[in-house]
């Protein structure tokens, strides 16, 4: 019994990272209609940025978490404002490959700046340690992550449903031209949404610094695949779907790692195949 609880907790904390990446991905897809391969790179950049603030500027964890992802937002701004903006109207392969080009560029830049090897971040003084749950120790930091995920979800929900900006974002996402003719500055809005989505991914990376143990230049590529799977299972463009999907995938792969260690990823794919056969548009996707 206690081992099951621990597996579920581990799965939830894993799922929260996937959610943070998938939420930015989903938001950008929902509003801009672009699937951003480079989103995993923003996660990676967020991790390296926070790490650098933490280690070389000698700042605390919170400062790193604040400054690292903010710096990555600048990269997101450049990508949208000077590149992605020009390909909204052209065929899908070009859009995807444009973001893929940024995966190559960012991965390589990280190798140039921080080196190709793995970096190990300093250990945390607070939120470190672990507390006993049902007789076994569980890291406090993972509990913190489990709390952050829903907090971000709540923030997003409030932003989109309760504020004036949220209403404009939803309007532009359902009918770009109508929103533009009603006076919404759609290009600026798109830049804003893209930068915000970038921040969500980078925040996930910043939070991952004490969690993953090692930072490597390929860390974005692994999580972007999981975020894609989550987005497919939940329904492309649905934030609710991304949240539920991330939890399901997180918990499921934790059980996979525990009980079928060599086939944990495979379970995820089986689940995706099953969902697609049963509901091709995803769990919360609108019927097409």
């Amino acid at each position: 019994m206690q081992s099951y609880v621990h597996v579920i907790l581990a799965g939830l904390s894993n799922g929260m990272f996937i959610w943070l990446v998938a939420s930015g991905l989903t938001l950008i897809f929902g509003v801009l209609g672009v699937l951003n391969f480079a989103h995993g790179s923003f996660y990676m950049l967020g991790a390296y940025g926070s790490f650098t603030v933490l280690k070389y500027l000698g700042a605390g964890f919170w400062t790193g978490l604040l400054l690292g992802p903010l710096a990555v937002c600048a990269a997101g701004f450049v990508v949208e404002r000077f590149f992605l903006r020009h390909v909204y109207r052209i065929a899908l392969p070009y859009q995807l490959l444009l973001t893929f080009a940024f995966v190559l560029i960012f991965d390589n830049l990280v190798k140039i700046v921080w080196g190709g090897g793995a970096l190990s971040p300093p250990s945390l003084s607070f939120l470190g340690g672990s507390i006993p749950i049902l007789g076994r120790n569980f890291p406090v930091y993972n509990l913190f992550i489990i709390a952050v995920g829903p907090a971000v979800a709540l923030l997003l929900w409030a932003l989109l449903e309760k504020t004036w900006y949220g209403r404009i974002i939803r309007a532009s996402s359902s009918d770009r031209e109508m929103a533009a003719s009603l006076g919404v500055r759609v290009p600026a809005l798109f830049t804003g949404v893209f930068v915000f989505g970038t921040w969500l991914g980078a925040l996930g990376g910043g939070l991952a610094v004490p969690y993953v143990g090692l930072l490597t230049p390929g860390m974005g590529e692994a999580i972007i695949i999981e975020a894609f799977i989550v987005a497919v299972i939940g329904g492309l463009g649905s934030l609710k779907g991304a949240f539920v999907g991330a939890l399901v995938i997180g918990v499921m792969s934790a059980f996979g790692t525990r009980f079928f260690p060599s086939f944990d990823m495979f379970l995820t794919f089986i689940l995706m195949g099953g969902v697609l056969l049963w509901r091709p548009q995803g769990l919360f996707g609108a019927a097409r």
């Binding site: 590149f83 444009l98 893929f100 894609f228």
Partner: protein, 321 residues
Amino acid sequence: MKAEARNAAAAVVLLALCAVPFLAGKFTVYLAMRIMLLGIFAVGYNLLLGQTGLLSFGHGAFYAAGAYGLGFFGLHVSGNPLFGVAAGVAAAILLAILVGYLCVRHTEIYFAMLTLAFGMMVFSLIWNAREITGGDDGLIGIMRSPVSFFGLLEIPIGTDRQFYFFILFFFALSVWAVHRIRQSPFGLALAGIRENARRSEFAGVPVRRYRLAVFVLSGAFAGLAGSLEALLESNARPFMAHWTHSAEPVLVSLLGGLSSLTGPLVGSAIFIAMREIIQRFTENWMLWFGIVLLVIILGFRGGVVGTLSAFFRKAAAPGEG
């Protein structure tokens, strides 16, 4: 281009390719083989992307199926490379039927993500099934035995120069086959599906079945390229199924130009040559390649072949400019 001129050009290129192993050094011969492998992969893949308008990010899986299919066949059944290649292609076709059946009901972005996910599924299977596939070490010890026709005739392919002609044979065969497919009623129906799937459906084209057919076909070419690479490098590696490898035929097709047969071939040559040249000057070839990619996407969307042919058309008819 007129048919005679095109045939003449093809003959000249074929002759030039035949001459390469006699005139060029070892390394150039190796690069030429890599270009032909990527060419087979890309020209088959472009039936799906350029001709039908479906963007797959999972064809590395079929490439890997070809390589591992040949590997297992060679290690456990028979060393004859012709049968091995057939086994590799068969494995790729079976996998493509399975994946394609699940994917072709979707189009556009869903299709791209599904193929990506299934490709990575194959990758993680190969990676994790260590006892069978060798995991991250790959499947090693694949031999280049002589090509044997039932003991009557034996052609050795052990040296690189001999093996070059083995690859050239399949390369020429693939390009010719893809050319015929593009011109066939089936190929034209695929172009119709690309332009307007609904109208094709109303015109009586079984759209989903055609999509599946071309998916499997392009998977077969990927498997052929994969099995040949396994013979060339004498191993099969899990990274053949990785999504970054699946992106290669997409890149190459865009680099050369989507709308022609020659586009992906020219793109393959440029890709391999560019990688070699950039790697000679810097370790950061991904960075430079990313920048080149940005320039192509933002400035030259017809690819090299498309941009050049538009340029010559303009030069030939200056009045229309």
